[in-house]
Amino acid sequence: MRSYWKQNQQRLAPWLFLAPGIFMFAVYVIIPIFQSLSISLYAWDGLGEKEYVGLANYVELMDDRAFYTSLKNNVIWLVLYMLAIPAGLFVALFLNQTVRGIRIYKSLFFFPFVISQVVVGLVFSWFYDPNFGLLNIGLQAIGLEPIAVLADENWVTYGIIAAGLWPQTAYCMILYLTGLNAVDPEQIEAARLDKAKGLKMLWYVVLPQLKPATFIAMVVTIIGALRSFDLISIMTDGGPYGSSRVLAFYMYEQAFSEYGFRMGYGAAIAVVLLAIMMIYITAFLYKMYRDERGL
């Protein structure tokens, strides 16, 4: 026994170290993914017997207007959330100086990312309040009609996304600040000698060196956009009339709220969301794989 361990130590050791982690991850993450795939083929209220219905849940999705609203909002989220990347870069460029006290400024600009989305949601619902919110005080000051952002079907999703962009921009900013720190000063100086400056310098010399930061910023922003749930739940609860739902929220509503306990239908929505996410996960893994091989 002892000598077996001695001889095969290096072969056995990794699995020994991996065992507890793999066990937990399998039980709570990997297996549930497949369970959800299976539940999406059943009609189930979460308590009673499951009834196999084949693809019926997916067929129903195709005719569900609320599903299309959610899907459309997910696309809007994905597209507009990307604004956090250039916005973060802009703030990072603004703050990438060495004047006195700049470190405090950097941390305070980063602040919104540290606080919970629940608090961000409360703060913004309040900012948008039609009676006393700062937004409408501002609008009235410049002579415009007040808008009840969160009660207006046309505005509500944009209002929530704006709230989400606040912490997300802070996140991208910190990624770019770190990236800018590592930009090769010699290349910048060389480019300056060649009379490059401003936007040209940014585009041709600096941005290429910021590629890793941009990549991470894109990954976290896409994931963040597709995971959007907290702000919607806090600010509108999907309303008005379900117009601010996204897939993540609609799924929760179908599976757990008073409307439903339709676990199977909810799982089908989750599968669609996973399928969208898989595009990005695959791309990410592919890039990682190439990097690993390239080492």
């Binding site: 991850f25 941390s107 409360l122 700062l134 720190n181 590592a182 000063p185 930061a213 993540a248 929760y252």
Partner: protein, 282 residues
């Protein structure tokens, strides 16, 4: 350095920059400043609609005592700690092990196992929601802080493994080789050679996970209900429902809820940013 250091520009733009900095900051944090101000207003200010003017009186003590006396916010905070601290310890411990295994050993399934952790870390929560709730019910840990912490430990192991593995991979391999030549066992190599070098990674991960879990709202609503088990994020949401129009109390509650991760961030800033920006530079 890019952009051009401001010291090298004209006096005018230097002055402009120094003025623009605080103004930009105030605009950026305006929503938060408003909340902080509101949290010290009196109920009279709120009913009179004085949201943006100077408070007629400063009721900091009253408001903050009121939320602790009249609501279970203290209980919520305590629950948050009961979920967050075990999660930090559990996820960091598990990922030290997995990170070591994947960063040090070369074996066939290495990349496959690693990718499983990475991919799992990115899946939408909703795909896990129904089975995880079911599993917690069956294990008898539904609606307990333990149940919530167990899930968080497992899920965060994905991200933590990615982090630890890359950190260990960047360490000098010769160190481990040397220990092996000396006949040191693999377990001792882990404990005496590698662990001491992982301290910065452990610190960075701990603050990050603390913040992530403290701020989690989704899983709190899925796996807990009621003041006995809910953490502060979910608690704040239900309090918001009870306190219609008592904005001074909602604000004070928000500030209290935000405090622990904010303190954590300011105390451990270097580690926090190191953790968050892993991979942002090559």
């Amino acid at each position: 350095m890019f952009p051009t250091p401001i010291e090298k520009t004209s006096k005018g733009s230097q002055l402009l920059y120094k003025v623009a900095l605080p103004i930009a900051l105030i605009f950026w944090l305006l929503p938060l400043i408003a909340v902080a101000l509101t949290s010290v207003r009196s109920a009279g200010d709120i009913t009179a609609g004085n949201y943006w003017g100077w408070p007629t009186s400063f009721n900091m003590l009253e408001n903050y005592t009121a939320i602790f006396e009249n609501t279970p916010i203290g209980k919520y905070i305590f629950n948050s700690f009961k979920v967050t601290i075990p999660t930090v310890i559990g996820a960091v411990a598990l990922s030290c092990l997995t990170g070591f295994a994947l960063g040090v050993y070369k074996f066939k399934a290495n990349l496959l196992v690693f990718f499983m952790f990475v991919a799992g870390n990115f899946v939408p929560f909703q795909i896990l929601m129904v089975p995880v709730r079911d599993l917690s019910l069956n294990m008898g840990v539904y609606n307990t802080t333990t149940g919530l912490a167990l899930f968080h430990i497992a899920f965060q192991t994905g991200f933590c493994t990615l982090f630890m593995r890359n950190f260990i991979k960047a360490m000098p391999y010769a160190l481990i080789e040397a220990a092996r030549v000396e006949g040191v066992s693999e377990i001792k190599i882990f404990w005496y050679v590698v662990m001491p070098l992982m301290k910065p990674a452990i610190a960075a991960l701990s603050v990050l996970i603390f913040t992530f879990i403290w701020n989690d709202y989704f899983w709190a609503t899925v796996l807990t209900q009621g003041a006995d088990t809910q953490p502060i994020t979910a608690g704040l949401y239900s309090l918001n429902g009870q306190w219609v129009a008592a904005w001074h109390l909602v604000s004070a509650g928000s500030i209290v809820a935000a405090m622990p991760p904010v303190l954590m961030f300011f105390l451990m800033q270097k580690h926090f940013i190191a953790g968050l920006t892993l991979g942002a530079v090559k």
